[in-house]
Amino acid sequence: MSSDDEDYLYDDDSDDSGNESTVNQDEDDDNDDFGMDIGLGEEASGSGGGGGGGLMMMVSGADKKGSDHAHPYEVLSTEQIVEHMVDCIKEVNSVIQIPTTTVRILLNHFKWDKEKLMERYFSDSQEQMFAEAKVVPPYKLGAKAMVAPDLGGRGVSLSAKSTLECEICYLTLPKSLTTALECGHPYCNSCWTEYITSKIMNEGASQSIECPGNCDILVDDVTVMKLVKDSKVKLKYQHLITNSFVDCNRLMRWCPAPDCPNAVKVQFVESRPVKCRCSHLFCFACSENWHDPVRCVLIKRWIKKCDDDSETSNWISANTKECPKCKATIEKDGGCNHMICRNQSCRADFCWVCLGPWEPHGSSWYNCNRYDEDEAKNARDSQEKSRAALQRYLFYCNRYMNHLQSLKFENNLYSMVKDKMDEMQQHNMSWIEVQFLKKAVDILCECRRTLMYTYVFAYYLKRNNQSELFEANQKDLENSTEHLSEYLERDISAENLVDIKQKVQDKFRYCDSRRRVLLDHVHEGYDRDWWVYTSDDITS
C-alpha cells in the first residue's frame, strides 16, 4: 500500500536520493561566497603579506558567522517541498502501517507534527483521533475491503452487479459507475468529479473536502486523483496541498518575495534572518524584511502605524478645530480670531480661542470674557499632546524613510562599482584585490538597513541610561555610514586608486564593527531587560 501510492499525486520526481542530496547541493550553492571568503582569508593570512586583503577577508568571515546561525536552514523549491512532504509521510508510514493517503490527512490534522501524531496514535484515544481528523480508522475498513477489492486507494469502487440511485443527480446507475469513501455513501463518478472540481476550483478547498452526504469523512488524495481527469484541476489541487503543507508547518515558511516559489525550512522557530535563493532576506518568524535590532512585534506595529492613517488623524487634531455648530473641520489660515464658518448652511460666527459664539465678544475680545480656565486648559493640553506625539512620530519616520530611500539608491551602486572594478583590473590590480569594493557596498547596505530599523526601535523606546548609550551608538554608526556612502558615491571616481582602497577598507571595517557593537548592545539589553517601552502593552 505504500510505494505506489505517493506517485499518483506528485509525479515521478520522488527518486529516493532526492531530498537530502539536493538540499545539500543548495546549501553549497548558497554558501559559495562564504566558502570562498574563508578560503581566501586563509590563503591571504597563509602567505602572510595579504595586508589589507587578508584583514578584509577576516572581517567578512566574522560577518558570516554572526548572521548565519549555528542552526542551518534550507531553501526548498516547490518540487523539493513535495519531496519533503512525501518523506514526512513515509517516515510516519514506516512506523504506522496505514495507507499513506490516510497518513497525510492525519499529519495535516496535527499540523505536520509527527511526534504529536505518534503520541496520539499510540494512546488510548486512537479512535477519537481518527474521528477528529475526519477519517475512518483503517482497521474498521477490513470488512468492506473484503467485499470490494480496494482499487488502490481509500475510494472503494463497488463492483457488485446491482444498480443504485445517485443521491446527487438522482439517476439510477450500475454500482460499478459509483464511488464511495469508507463511510459507504455512494455517488456516481461524474457527480463526484463535478463535486470535487467545484470544491477545488470555486472554493479552493483541498484538505477539507468532505463526503457530500451528511457525514464529515474527508476525501483522500487517491480518490481525488482517480476521479478528477482535468489536468488544470489536478494541478491546482497539488498546489493547494503543498500550500497548506507549508502554511501548517511551523518549521517552513514561503519566501515572501513576489512570485518566488521557494520556501525556507528551519530546525526550530525563532526570529532570525533567512535568505532565499532569490536573494530576498527576511525574518523567519514574521516574514517581514530582516529587521534587527527591532523585534517582530514592534516592526508589525510600526508597519501598521505607517500604513493606517492614525497619524493623519493626529495631524487633524493637532492643527484643526471643529466648527461648534456644524462640526466641520477647520484649519485656521489667517490671524483673525473671529471665525465665520464657510459652510453655506451654517455660517456660524464664533471665537477661535474659546469656540463660543462671537456675539458676546463684541469689540473687546482681548478680554475674552467667555474664557473658561479649565476647559481651555484641557483643550490646549490635549492638542499639545497630540501635536507632540505627531512630531515625535514624524521625527523617527523621516529618518526611517530617509534611510530606506538611501538603501534603494545604494542598490544602484552595485553597477557603478562593477565598472570601477573592471577599470581597476585594467590598472594591474588582480580580481581578488578589487573585491573590496563590492564588499564595501554590501556593508553599506547592511548598515543602512540596520540604521533604518534603529529608528523604529528608538521610536518605541523610553529614555534611560541604556537608551542614551544606544543613541550614541546609533549616531556613531550613522556618521560613519554617511562617510562610507560618500566615499563610494563620489570620491571613488576622483581619487587615486591605492589611496581610495585604503580609505574605503578602513571605513567599511569601522562601519561593520560599529554596526555589530550597536546590535550586540541592543541584544544584550533584551537579555538583561534594559529596554523600557513607551507603551505598556509592548512585551518583548
Partner: protein, 182 residues
C-alpha cells in the same frame, strides 16, 4: 454640497443593478441533467409530501423549474401553528454543487430570531454547510425544524440594520452562525 459623493455612489449602483438585470441569468435548467434532478425532486415532494409542505400552484403550472415556490404551514404544537408561509427557491447554474437561494416570500414572514423581515434566513446549510446530497425536501425539513424549536417569536437583533443594507440575494451575505440551538 449638491453632489453628495455617497448619493452618487448609490445611484451608480442602482443603475448598474438595472442594466445587469436585463441579461438573462444562467440557471440550473440550462443543463438537462440538473433539470431532470429538479423534476425528480419536485415529483418526490408531490408524491410523498412532508408534513405541512406543498408545492405552490404557480410552480406546478409554470414551466420554469429554475425558480420554485413551496407553501409551508406552521407545524402543529409550535409557536407558528396554523400560519401559512411561502418559501422561494432559486437554482443557479452550479446547482446542486452550489446551494439554492432560499428566502421566505409573500405577506407572512415568520417572526423568528434567525429570519429577517425581508425573508432572508440565517441557516448554515444554505451557504457553507450545503452539500449536493441535500435537496429541496431536506431544506424544507430543516427550516420547519428551525421554526419548531423556536421558543420566542422575535426578529434577529440586527434586523432593521440588516434589512436596510443587505444584498437582494441572501447568498451574498456573509453569515455568522452563532448559535446552534434555535
Amino acid at each position: 454640497m449638491n453632489d453628495h459623493p455617497r448619493l452618487t455612489a448609490v445611484f451608480a449602483r442602482l443603475s448598474f443593478g438595472r442594466t445587469s438585470g436585463k441579461k438573462p441569468a444562467r440557471k440550473a435548467t440550462d443543463n438537462p441533467k440538473w433539470e431532470k434532478r429538479l423534476q425528480k425532486e419536485l415529483m418526490a415532494i408531490m408524491k410523498d409530501p412532508p408534513d405541512g409542505i406543498t408545492v405552490s400552484q404557480d410552480t406546478l403550472e409554470g414551466s420554469d423549474l429554475s425558480q420554485i415556490c413551496v407553501n409551508m404551514t406552521g407545524p402543529s404544537g409550535t409557536l407558528y401553528e396554523g400560519e401559512a408561509f411561502m418559501l422561494r427557491f432559486k437554482f443557479g447554474p452550479k446547482y446542486p454543487f452550489d446551494s439554492p437561494e432560499v428566502v421566505f416570500t409573500g405577506e407572512n414572514i415568520p417572526v423568528h430570531p434567525h429570519i429577517y423581515s425581508n425573508g432572508h434566513i440565517c441557516l448554515s446549510i444554505l451557504t457553507e454547510d450545503w452539500s449536493p446530497a441535500m435537496s429541496v425536501q431536506s431544506v424544507c425539513l430543516s427550516i420547519a425544524s428551525m421554526l419548531s424549536s423556536c421558543k420566542e417569536k422575535k426578529r434577529p437583533p440586527d434586523n432593521s440594520f440588516y434589512v436596510k443594507t443587505c444584498h437582494k440575494n441572501p447568498k451574498k451575505t456573509r453569515w455568522w452562525y452563532h448559535d446552534e440551538d434555535v
